[in-house]
Each structure stands twice: as C-alpha cells, then as structure tokens.
C-alpha cells in the first residue's frame, strides 16, 4: 500500500474531476438502439484523480458484460471516435 501511495501522481497543482460514483451497467439506461437515455445513481458523488476512473472502467461489470479490454479493443478497432 505504501508503494502505491508513493507512486500516485502529484503534479504541482493537482486537479481532480467529477465522475459517475457507481459506474455500473445497472445504473446506465439506454434505448433499444443503445443510445444513452440516463445515468441514474449519483449517491456519494465526489471528484477524484482522473486515474481512478480508468481503474473503475477496467473493473466495470467484468462478469456481466465480458472482459473490459475486449470491448475497449472493439471500440478502438472500429474507430468510434472518428464519427463522434
């Protein structure tokens, strides 16, 4: 644990970001096409270092949705951002 704390980023003027507190497939609503219609659970919302959310994406619903790296790779391969 001490090692982790020592290696946390500590820029001279740190900035923290707001994120979805319980980033879970049960809290994200979509229509039949898959368009986002709502994010519903904002209990305990707080801001934190951006790196934390990368970690939470990597754990998001591993069991229910399949390995995150597979669908992140899918997104990357389809170059979704190009159409955004």
């Amino acid at each position: 644990m001490e090692v982790v704390v020592r290696h946390l980023p500590s820029p001279p003027s740190p900035t923290f970001v707001l994120s979805v507190p319980d980033f879970d497939s049960q809290n994200i609503m979509v229509d039949d096409q898959g368009n986002l219609t709502g994010i519903i659970d904002w209990d305990l919302a707080q801001n934190y270092a951006p790196v934390r959310k990368l970690c939470s994406v990597s754990r998001m619903d591993h069991a229910r949705l399949g390995p995150a790296h597979v669908w992140l790779a899918q997104v990357k391969s389809r170059k979704l951002t190009r159409g955004a």
Partner: protein, 246 residues
C-alpha cells in the same frame, strides 16, 4: 451472512422504511405534482408501480397520470439513529452534483423535483423525488438478442454515446478531492466526501464523512484500508480492489 435471506437483509437495512404505506407515497407524489406541475386534478388510478430495494436505497416508482411517473428514493440512512447530519449532507451534496451536471452538460440525469432531508413529511422519511428516465439498463440490453437491433451495433452505440456524454465531465476541474456543496449564494465548493459505513455486528448502515483532501495520496492513505485493519466502506472496498489492478 450466507444463510440470511434477502428479506432479512432488507429488513436489517431498511427497517420501517419497508412498511411506508402506498397511500403515503402516493400522497407525497401528488403534493409534489401540485407544487411542481401545478396539476391538482385527482386521479383515482394513482398507484405505487414498483418498489425496488437496492443496496443503499429504496426506490419507489409512482404512477400519477397516464403519462407521469415519479421516482421517490429513500436512503437506507433514513430511519432511527442513522438520521445524522452527515446523512442529510450527503443528500444535499448529491443534489448539488445533479444540478451542476444538468445545467452545464447534456448528460442525461434525473431531474430533481423535490427533496427533504428530514422526516417531517407525508412519508416520515428523508427522500429525493426525481423524474423517471426512459430506457432499460445496460445490464439488460448488452446481451439481449430479442431486441430488433444487432447486438454489435447496439453495444458500440452504448459505448460511444456513453463516452460522448461522460467526456463532458472534463469541463469541471477541482483543486481538492471531495463532494460538491452549494452555498446560500448558489456558489459551489468542495466539501467532505461521504461514504456508507456498514456495521459488521448488526448490519446497520450509517453515513460517514471525511476530507476534503488536497492530494490523491492523502485520500488513499486515509480512506483505504491497511490489510491489517479492514474498514467496511463502499468506496474503501472498491478502492482496494482498484488499487490491486494497477
């Protein structure tokens, strides 16, 4: 405990909140409808459509008219000795966060119509009343082959619309780690973080408060758990799991 049924565990978590009569919930919803929508006509078909017990909230869906559904969320901290100032502050902070997101982004979040952090109301419990958002959960739609759309297209659309929405959170940056608090003048400040704390002995849940913190290191040192002293908090446990994945 493994032998415990869901009902026992719900009773432990929510106590008397599980027995709030449908009539009280409908009455509250109708009061809110009158205040917010200025609709006072009495619909005889008003009813409680669903009561969902989550880990930390009881969520009620009330049908008021053919086209108006309201959601009433009651936190597990809403009864007995759990009704503490941090429990109330956690509700207010959530509202400040939702207001900010609704006013400065296009991220679809529930609209808050009314709230009360006290028990002086028709249901005798703190609550947040919000709009009912359409759609199905990603948990249901991700692998659902009965829908007319192709699975792959749907999954990619979920990810792309979600990413486009969440990228907007980058508009806000803060110099401290904490939760948002709205002052009387409407200014937002970063105050303490909140967490649910579960008591191992009797299963009760209370709201805990700590921070705000100036650095990620200060946050992690305070809120994560040395393996010798496991503290049962939601963020704490998740945090530990996340740390192991780094």
């Amino acid at each position: 405990m493994a032998s415990q049924t869901d009902e026992d565990s719900d009773a432990e978590t929510f106590g008397p909140l599980l027995h709030i009569p449908e009539a009280s919930l409908v009455k509250l919803a109708m009061q809110i409808r009158a205040d917010v929508f200025h609709m006072t006509s009495c619909s005889s078909s008003s009813r409680l459509v669903d009561r969902i017990s989550g880990s930390y909230n009881l969520v009620h869906i009330i049908q008021l008219d053919s086209d108006l559904q309201l959601v009433i969320r009651i936190p597990a901290t809403g009864w007995g000795a759990r009704l503490t100032p941090p429990a109330a502050a956690a509700i207010e902070s959530q509202l400040a966060t939702l207001r900010l997101i609704a006013s400065k982004t296009t991220i679809p979040v529930p609209q808050v119509y009314a709230f009360d952090t006290t028990t002086n109301n028709a249901i005798g419990a703190p609550y947040i009343c919000m709009s009912f958002l359409p759609g199905q959960t990603v948990a249901k739609t991700w692998f659902d082959t009965s829908l007319p759309t192709s699975l792959e297209d749907r999954q990619l659309r979920i990810l792309s619309t979600l990413a486009r929405s969440l990228a907007q959170l980058a508009r806000f940056s803060f110099i401290k780690i904490g939760s948002l608090h709205e002052g009387e003048n409407g200014n937002l400040t970063v105050g303490p973080c909140y967490d649910w704390k579960e008591n191992d002995d009797d299963g009760t849940i209370s709201a805990a408060m700590s921070g705000p913190y100036d650095s990620a290191a200060a946050y992690v040192s305070t809120t994560t758990i040395p393996s010798t002293k496991i503290k049962r908090t939601v963020h704490g446990e998740l945090q530990q799991r996340r740390l192991w994945r780094w």
